[in-house]
């Protein structure tokens, strides 16, 4: 929970895993892991900023338990494309464990094809997060954020911000309507609003 004079929407408080993933009432991490174990391949699918990385982070302890501790996680980002050789090494290192790739769509199409071929020759299980589904990867979860959840999580971030709370919730509703379902992007915009508000309210920052 944010505290002190920190911006409640700074990376520390909103990065994946800082807020645990909230499962719907009738589902939990075990259900998802069981589906993955049944097929040994799975994809968590959802648009930008809907909690895919947060879900992976929340799942990691359950995944480690289910796969005997042999779980390797790789982050793919648009800034630094991962080399295929590195993925091959990870498949080898995972052995009969689980390889988790966050941001699978960042791999190029040829990379994904070659990776799939390499994976077929191994005993390694695979879980990826991706924006769009792939025919060869069963969808084990689709991330979506309902308005009520988005509002609730934002209210939690604003606990202890009595002066800003009312304005913050009002601004959030406006920004969320423009950016739905990307909660991360909405919170980045909230970061800017909080900065503007605190500068006007509490004076010029230290420079």
């Amino acid at each position: 929970m944010p505290h002190g004079d920190s911006n409640p929407f700074c990376t520390r408080f909103i990065r994946p895993g800082a807020i645990p993933f909230r499962f719907p009432q009738d589902q939990n991490a075990d259900d998802l892991v069981q589906r993955l174990r049944a097929g040994l391949r799975g994809a968590i699918v959802g648009p930008h900023g809907t909690g895919k990385s947060t879900l992976i982070t929340t799942l990691m302890p359950t995944l480690r338990h289910a796969f005997g501790g042999r779980v390797l996680r790789q982050q793919c980002s648009s800034q630094g494309r991962i080399r295929l050789a590195e993925l091959h090494r990870m498949i080898a290192r995972a052995g009969d464990g689980l390889l988790v790739i966050d941001g699978f769509e960042q791999l190029s199409r040829p990379q994904r094809i070659l990776f799939r071929l390499a994976l077929a020759r191994s005993n390694c299980a695979l879980l990826v997060t991706t924006h769009q589904p792939y025919a060869w990867l069963p969808v084990v979860w689709r991330t979506e954020i309902e308005d009520r959840l988005a509002l609730g999580l934002t209210a939690e971030l604003l606990v202890g911000q009595a002066e800003y709370y009312q304005r913050g919730m009002k601004v959030f509703q406006r920004l969320w309507a423009q950016r739905r379902p990307n909660l991360r992007e909405t919170w980045f915009a909230m970061y800017d609003d909080y900065f503007t508000w605190s500068t006007v309210t509490h004076g010029q920052p230290i420079r």
Binding site: G4, N7, C10, T11, R12, I206
Partner: protein, 85 residues
């Protein structure tokens, strides 16, 4: 210690670390002030920008017998010596 916060990656650095074991306080922590002395570096100085903040603080981590811990933090500002006070 100082840490950064903002919209991007974060950084943290412990400038001075001191551990006190229970043997330092045979009669327990009685609420008396404790003293700490260290020479602060010339940089990084405190900074409060839109995308990034550099925050200095004194952080106290108290380990309790049952595995719990209490963390308290007191911020302070590090300025260059020629800066107006």
């Amino acid at each position: 210690m100082w840490f950064t916060e903002g919209k991007g990656d974060e950084d943290i650095h412990v400038h001075h670390f001191q551990r006190y074991s229970a043997s330092h306080y045979p009669e327990g922590l009685s609420g008396q002030p404790q003293f700490l002395r260290t020479q602060l570096p010339v940089s990084p100085i405190s900074y409060h920008g839109k995308l990034l903040r550099i925050c200095w603080c004194l952080r106290l981590r108290l380990f309790i017998e049952n595995g719990r811990e209490i963390v308290a933090q007191h911020p302070f500002v590090l300025l260059p010596s020629h800066a107006p006070r």
